[in-house]
Amino acid sequence: MTIHNTASRREFLKRAAAFSVLGGAAPFALNLASVSALAAEPASDYKALVCFFLFGGNDHNNMVVPFDAASYAAYQASRPGLEIATPYLQEIVPGTSQGAGLRFALPNYMSGLQGLFQSGKAAILANVGTLLAPVTLADYKARRNLPPKLFSHNDQTATWQAFTPEGSKIGWGGRMGDLLASMNTDTTFTAISASGNAVYLTGRNVLQYQVGANGSTNINAAVASSLYGSTSGDDALRLLTMQTSTNLLEADHAAVVKRSYDAAAKVQAALATAPVTDVDVALPTELANDNLAKQMQVIARLIKVRSQLGARRQVFFVGLGGFDTHDNELTAQATLLARVSQVIDYFYKSTVAQGVANQVTLFTGSDFGRTLASNGKGSDHAWGAHHFIVGGAVKGKDIYGSFPQVRIGTTANPNPLDTGSGRFIPTTSVDQYAATLARWFGVADSDMASVIPNIGNFSTRYLNFL
């Protein structure tokens, strides 16, 4: 507790410094001194972390597939009818062996990510999931140390993003933002969602700012010369929509309207300098009408105009729904993952074109993985899953963590990770995944527990993918 309090106090000072910059008084020395190792960074220093969330629980079993004959046979036997046939797989060759003879493949509709992996720009983290602390099968059966509400969409999504179930208020993306927002001249643009509201992006001070696929939306009345012929209408509108209120619902709504009013013009002016046709961010023709691609593009554009927005550390969020494939999985997931792969490939190329590939890291997350067993048309909610990390700074072409034996445990041949129907206990926690990303992003080791409260429960804090 004492240590925790100390950390909180230090962090409080840091925050006080960071946010007093906005208020006018600027104890900049204190600010810099408290953010370790940043003083030496050049002014052009920039880092962005992009969370790409696959809503619904992606079936990781059909995303990274065992490819050596023995493992493939076990995989196939575990989900007959739901397996991806070998002609539709393309091998990926990790630099580090996961075990003698083990080979892996991605579906060939994920050629973009396959290429990024092979060229060393993408890594895979195997069997990662929500944990409070390492868990064994005996723990699971005794219901010891388990994260609450396993297998529940909304709760596991919240746990993934904020380490507690639905109702959580602070996500680790936002917490990273808290610690590093002082580097940004306008903290509004520290945490940006191109999808809807995501708890991941909210810290104690940092709030998410939401953008549409085309950027920010102006309130027409605020930019027009008159409102129904009234030149004073806009003043009334501002008052009525943004005034303080003792009613907390009204107050919260007013705060959102105020952020909308305040930021839209600035974002629009900045984005105008990086239009959708800009060669560094333009979408390839096949993605021109894809909503997900447009969301990814607005992030690419915001990165391009980062200096106009005064941003040096940014966390972004983008999401795609539809991964809850209980039914029609082979078709549905292929369509989704093909888009994911294409869009991530586009995004990586945009960061290369912009010259920021080493400063932007994208990673995937999802509610949970899915059962290895088939229900005849799809799969069900499970736990650990595989995920991608993409970017110039990534130590790619490798699989990190521990790849599970892809087979369902039986009495005769138990699988120590299988809690039933191929619901695998994660061997790496989201905490470790997050800590590795946070360290790269600039969070000091001493601050890590304030971002990832349970990180101390894992003997290895950081993985080597960054």
Binding site: G167, Q210, S374
Partner: protein, 819 residues
Amino acid sequence: MTTIKNTSIALLLTILLLGCGGGGSGGDSAGDPSQGASSSSGGVDTQAPVAPASVKSEGSTATSVTLSWKETSDNRGVAAYVIYRNGQQIGETSSLQLSFVDRNLQPATTYNYQIKARDAAGNVSDASIEVQALTQPSTTTKDTTAPTAPTNLAATNVSNSTVTLRWTPSTDNVGVVLYEVTRNGVLVASFSAGLNAFTNLNLLPGTAYSFAVRARDAAGNLSPLSAAISVSTLGSSGSSSSTSSSSSSGAGSSSSSSSSSSSSSSSSSSSSSSSSSGGVVGTPLTAPKASRFLAQASFGPKMSDISALTGSSAESWLNQQFAKPQSLHVPTIDSLLKARLADADTTNDRSYQDDFMQAFWTNAAKGDDQLRLRVAFALSQIFVISFDSGLDDSVRGVAAYYDMLGRNAFGNFRTLLEDVSLSPMMGVYLSHIRNLKEDPKTGRMPDENYAREIMQLFSIGLHQLNPDGTLVLSGGKPVETYTNEDITGLAKVFTGWSYGGADKSDNRFYDNSTVRDPNSRIIPMQGYPKFHSISEKSFLDVTIPAQTTATPEADLKLALDTIFKHPNVGPFIGKQLIQRLVTSNPSPAYVSRVSAAFANNGAGVRGDMKAVIRAVLLDPEARDANGALAQTATYGKIREPVLRLASWMRAFEAKSTSGVFRIGNTDNAAYQLGQSPMRSPSVFNYYRPGYVAPGSKSGTAGLFVPELQITHETSVAGYLNFMQGVVANGTGQNANDKAVASYTAELALANSPADLVARINLLLCNGAMRPANVQTIVDAVTAIKIPASPTSAVDSAKRNRVLLAVFLTLASQDYIVQK
């Protein structure tokens, strides 16, 4: 048929060719036969239709002209008519529509009209002969006659804090639009001329007040004030019995006891279905209280609703509503499809999601069974299915599901749960249709999707609840209601279900089109023993032993009975209904009262939805008799975007030429509402009942604010921009099906900003907008100056005043948060 189809294909090709070729002189290359009904040609159509003939003005008002014309011809058919006013294109109609109403014109002005016909290839005919039309003189010059003063003003119901007034209506050469009530010489209320009664609330006890009433017509002419009457409220010790409305008293009251007693008898009778209140009328409502109640219990108040309910009670309104026939959605789907099948165009022979949207908005705005419609909408956000995944084309099925929710809204929850579980649309959405029993040989297991969500979302939730909705704690921690093993056990119950029909053949199970029942998407699923699990099924402390014969129906009954009996259902569902209708954070005591009504309707019946609805809407915490709760920091709910639009439609009685409102989906948060009926992004609805907004004051205070989940910087701008357009121009897909407000009553108040804003405040904010905000709007409205002349400028300024007042109110926090 074949010929017509070929024509359609040819037209399609034509459009494609034009689209690719940039619309140049593509006709040269085609050698297109220029005449006749040549359906075989695939060439480019370059022949324009014949110019429309017999164009004439069918009549005019001060602000509109109605045009008509004769059908004209084209080698491949006319696609649309284009209307020009003074040389400017102002609108289009489809080829079937041979008339057009041009609105928002200036009075006493001559306009020139021409019509052109256009075919599908884009060829436009010559213009018709020009027709002149003269609008009527403006109403201000036309109508200068004021209404007569109201007579026989009387106080009919007096308590220590309220006075109800009635009077004999005024007469007017055109018609009375509004009545205005003054108290001690100050205007205190204005409302539409539907009902000649008004209840003034929050008066001081034992105090004499002077009341008078005047009438106003659409042109703004005011009658003289009626003779004033003096009424004294009862002394502070005097209690008014809500049931003895005929025993009205008060100095100066020439009480017309016949009218008041008839009003109370009409409202208290016919409550045979009322089990708890025993025919008691309940507290008479004032106009603001009536408006507030209707905001919770309907898609929003109209002035006539407020007037009708003023002096009556919430209880009697509920009883009336329980008896009303259901407004259905499937018939709209069917009739639209029938019309498309009958017309010449075979490319549109299907149903569209917008057909459902049309049914939804038309019913929401105009349906008489408002309570049922509103509760059904609430249920659709708990028992979620969505066009958005898997049901894109199942328009009729989704409409039938919605009608099923409406049917069960006043039924029993057990039936609702079964109808939901057996809905083929739910079967598709949560994938338990054609769910196969486990297969030990392959390791295949049943789909767990529905088993999980029926418990997590539709009935008991994740944690054991006390009857007041708070968590049962064990060792300081919540107790989970089920484990994953309960899910895998219950999943077996939901195996072997598929579309209903005449038999249980494998072909029907697999939905083979050769045996498909035409109503398979709207009738309940049926059990197919062959595909239903016979192994042991354990869930929620119930075990169905292994069987030799599959019994899907019996298994389902046991499962649903078990879930239905779970003590969580009352607080779990009851609290969500409170959140949908009344407030996001009800007190535990409020939840417990609703739970109790769920557990027992007073006659020993569990799950009676009418009892639950009564408990939700009549609870002291919902009615907030003295208005104190609404002043607290935590009360209320963010009015969800769909309700905001619906309330606007009702408050200003939006109309369309056709009588229906074809409003498409309003999904887009950047320029629409960010929410559409039946298009939730997932089974978790647009927002969760337990949503805590990160980084918010409400979150810090431990509050749930579900609707904040879809509130962000883009959505708030999108809403304001959307409504700015809607307020002025209406909304809808075709000119004829567009919901447009004429603001007749509001325009009549445009010269008096305070009165105008008071009216809008009563309609949209149940008269509870904080006074400073009322003043802000009054000032903004007043700043739009109304010139002395010309009439067109006067009317334009008046209209702008109304539009501004309506829009600012729709934007205000007082409207956004329903309290």
